[in-house]
């Protein structure tokens, strides 16, 4: 029995994470700490009920974007990606490996954050917790897929970090948390509807509000489509031959 390449890659990425205890602690504990902060700030009131679910969508997306950007950039600059390209490794093995590792990680991260939000911070969840978890993992994969793709355009880790204010923060500002999308100025509304994470927030908020059916499936399918799109684009940034 041989291990499939994607499974070997996922195991390797998780081992690298495991050897970095501080990052693990940050990824696992930080979402809950910040959700707790929001709950405290708004005294678990109306505003928290609005922001809480968004934070549950935000963290898997945000952290997986950062972690994927940095790990893949390291893979490029340390020469390991180049070495992989000389082996029988397939591109799908690399990309699916990363996606699997971070999806597994996102399940743990989201599970802890959701349980903390609901049982410690009294976040009312009208919809199903399982659906919320599935959506949070989809958001995490969105972050991973964007990180895989965008890290190709960074030469240094410092540049990779700069993609955060450039590509991620606008998606959060226009994501519908601060103002409902249909009340935004026309141009910003169009922009918001083009951003993938808008749908990541919408789905989680709708699940929390107890909506179901198409109100959840539509944003879910949009997020999945963006994940697939960025993964295809990402695989184009992994050429075997370089200059």
């Amino acid at each position: 029995m041989t291990t499939p390449q994607f499974a070997a890659t996922a195991a390797r990425v998780l081992k690298q994470l495991r050897n970095d205890r501080r990052t693990i602690a940050l990824l696992v504990v930080m979402p809950s700490v910040l959700i707790g902060l929001f709950a405290w700030l708004f005294n678990s009131g109306q505003m928290f009920q609005r922001v809480g679910p968004v934070v549950l969508a935000l963290f898997p997306f945000l952290m997986m974007f950062l972690v994927t950007s940095i790990t893949t950039l390291r893979e490029r600059t340390s020469g390991t990606l180049e070495r992989l390209m000389t082996t029988p490794m397939t591109k799908s093995g690399i990309i699916l490996g990363y996606a699997t590792a971070f999806a597994l990680f996102a399940v743990v991260q989201s599970l802890i954050a959701v349980l903390f939000a609901v049982y410690v911070c009294d976040l009312t969840l009208a919809g199903s917790m399982a659906a919320l978890l599935v959506f949070a993992v989809a958001d995490a994969l969105l972050g991973t897929a964007m990180g895989l793709f965008l890290s190709a355009f960074a030469r240094t880790e410092f540049q990779a970090i700069q993609f955060f204010p450039l590509f991620i923060v606008p998606q959060i500002i226009l994501g519908g948390v601060f103002m409902p999308i249909d009340q935004m100025p026309r141009v910003l509304e169009i922009l918001a509807r083009c951003f993938p994470f808008t749908y990541g927030i919408e789905g989680v908020a709708n699940i929390a509000a107890g909506l179901g059916g198409w109100d959840v499936w539509r944003p879910f399918l949009v997020v999945v489509a963006f994940v697939v799109g960025f993964i295809v684009l990402g695989s184009l940034t992994l050429p075997r031959r370089t200059r």
């Binding site: 390449q5 070495r83 992989l84 029988p88």
Partner: protein, 244 residues
């Protein structure tokens, strides 16, 4: 004399441009199978570019590179050709064994092969240590262990001995010689001329030009000098003498 043997690598009219530098402009070269070939020349002469072209990582502007009868970089070569780059290409935050095991799994090789190559480079005692915690020489040997995985027919090593102490360098060259004796083709680059004597064949490069494709004995015989370093300089002077 190379023509009499089977070639592992045949290069015809290779043209490579990197950035603004035309590194090769019509290079022809044959590298014999089952021998230890040293790719030697000063820093910047094109050793890395040549190795990358042979392994199929380099975008080339023209010419043919044939490796074990197939075009360089062909998928079926990825099980038969291994490459260890000048800069590590290892996961520093993983253990020695995890590094080797990952590349073994990718190639569909069993755990016993991981143990074999780790023992072959003398790292059995460090297998559980993190890659970034071993000494410089041991670190190089992790890379070498990965290059040995799956008993490849052709191994390309880019400056594997640079920065190592003389004892360690001698050990590695002994190991390369043993591999070649077992029938493996090795192409090993170095910018240190005194390593030339350890090779079966020599490819001497300077500024992307082939100065000579010879043997250590041939180099000395042709120049009438006793020292490889001086012989290389002599060949360069001669080449410049005929092409003003």
């Amino acid at each position: 004399m190379l023509g009499a043997m089977t070639s592992a690598v045949t290069i015809r009219g290779l043209r490579v441009r990197r950035g603004r530098v035309q590194v090769f402009d019509g290079l022809d070269l044959d590298i014999a199978a089952g021998r230890l070939t040293g790719l030697i020349g000063p820093s910047g002469c094109g050793k890395t570019t040549l190795i990358r072209s042979i392994v199929g990582l380099q975008i080339v502007q023209g010419g043919d590179v044939t490796v074990l009868g197939r075009p360089a970089g062909a998928p079926e070569l990825r099980h038969r050709v291994t490459y260890s780059a000048q800069n590590d290409g290892l996961y520093r935050d993983l253990s020695v064994r995890d590094n080797v095991a990952y590349f073994a799994q990718i190639a569909g090789l069993p755990g016993s092969e991981v143990d074999r190559v780790i023992a072959a480079v003398g790292l059995a005692g460090q297998a559980k240590q993190r890659a970034d915690s071993v000494s410089g020489g041991q670190f190089r040997r992790i890379s070498l262990a990965i290059a040995l995985l799956g008993r490849p027919d052709l191994i390309l090593l880019d400056e594997p001995t640079v920065g190592l102490d003389p004892v360690l360098r001698a050990d590695l060259w002994d190991m390369f010689a043993r591999l070649a004796r077992d029938g493996v083709t090795l192409i090993v680059s170095s910018h240190v001329m005194d390593e030339a004597s350890r090779c079966d064949d020599l490819v001497l490069l300077r500024e992307g030009q082939l100065v000579a494709a010879t043997t250590p004995a041939g180099l000395l015989a042709e120049t009438g000098l006793a020292d490889a370093d001086q012989a290389f300089l002599e060949l360069i002077h001669r080449a410049e003498g005929v092409q003003p």
